[in-house]
């Protein structure tokens, strides 16, 4: 049940990316090109998605517990730190360069489009590097905490 529901959520998400034009790098770059022929379409997508999510989350939290799992798993970190900012800067450069972010790249790669498949392969490498990086620094932080 949980797997089927999550599959439907992924399907809705992917359809949203295709319908909105977010799956199309040309359209994403037109949105990011504020100094050129700026295409504001994706600002509309973001605004609508955020509004629906905000309202829906509010309704979901009223019940106090999700339907198919033990509890809400919210991100715990509150820190505005260097990884957050640095990660976002790096992410934005790659996003601007290619017009792809993770969801749209997977949707495009699913159709077997070579540029998207290449991008997703490189993206997985980047993710692995970041995870190794993060687990190493958290191990370092833990051992520092232990010795302290």
């Amino acid at each position: 049940m949980a797997v089927a529901t999550t599959f439907i959520a992924g399907l809705l998400f992917g359809l949203g990316l295709v319908v909105s034009g977010l799956a199309n790098p040309e359209k994403v770059q037109a949105f990011l090109d504020v100094a050129g022929h700026w295409d504001a379409s994706l600002a509309v997508t973001m605004a609508v998605a955020v509004a629906i999510t905000a309202a829906g989350y509010r309704a979901a939290f009223v019940r106090g517990k999700p339907w198919l799992s033990a509890g809400f798993q919210m991100p715990r970190s509150k820190a505005i730190d260097a990884p957050l900012i640095g990660g976002a800067v790096i992410f934005g450069i790659g996003w601007g360069l290619s017009g792809f972010c993770p969801g749209p790249a997977i949707v495009a790669a699913a159709l077997g489009l070579t540029p998207a498949v290449v991008f997703v392969g490189a993206m997985l490498v980047g993710m692995m590097i970041a995870r190794l990086f993060a687990s190493r620094s958290s191990t370092a932080a833990k051992s520092a905490a232990n010795t302290a």
Partner: protein, 141 residues
Amino acid sequence: MMNFTPVSAALGGVLIGLSAVLMMATMGRIAGVSGFVSRLLPPYEDLDWPIRAAFVAGLIAAPWLYRWSGMHVEINQPASIMALVIAGVLVGFGAVYGSGCTSGHGVCGIARVSPRSIIATSVFMVSGMATVFVIRHVIGG
């Protein structure tokens, strides 16, 4: 060729929003694509692999369903393969290191008014716009 398409943009936003709400209401989770994808890779921290795989499978099925319903999926990627390799590594690294991407920070995080997500989204928007500016109007100018 590119033009403002507010109706399809809004409709896509509705679908993305519904997906995010469905994930929270049923599974109690943020619909963050980079989080789901990156945790399909080792090292494994929990037993939620099937859930993440199901979301990604939905993403993969989506363009096929759309195409099967008789619609055309418009995807034009003008970047060179070299640029895509570099961009892919940057996007993958940045999304994981910065704890989220356009979905997790940009949609879900802003919706729950998370200061981290609002800052991350502002930063990657500006960074993305600056990159396109350099490519199109400085180098390409």
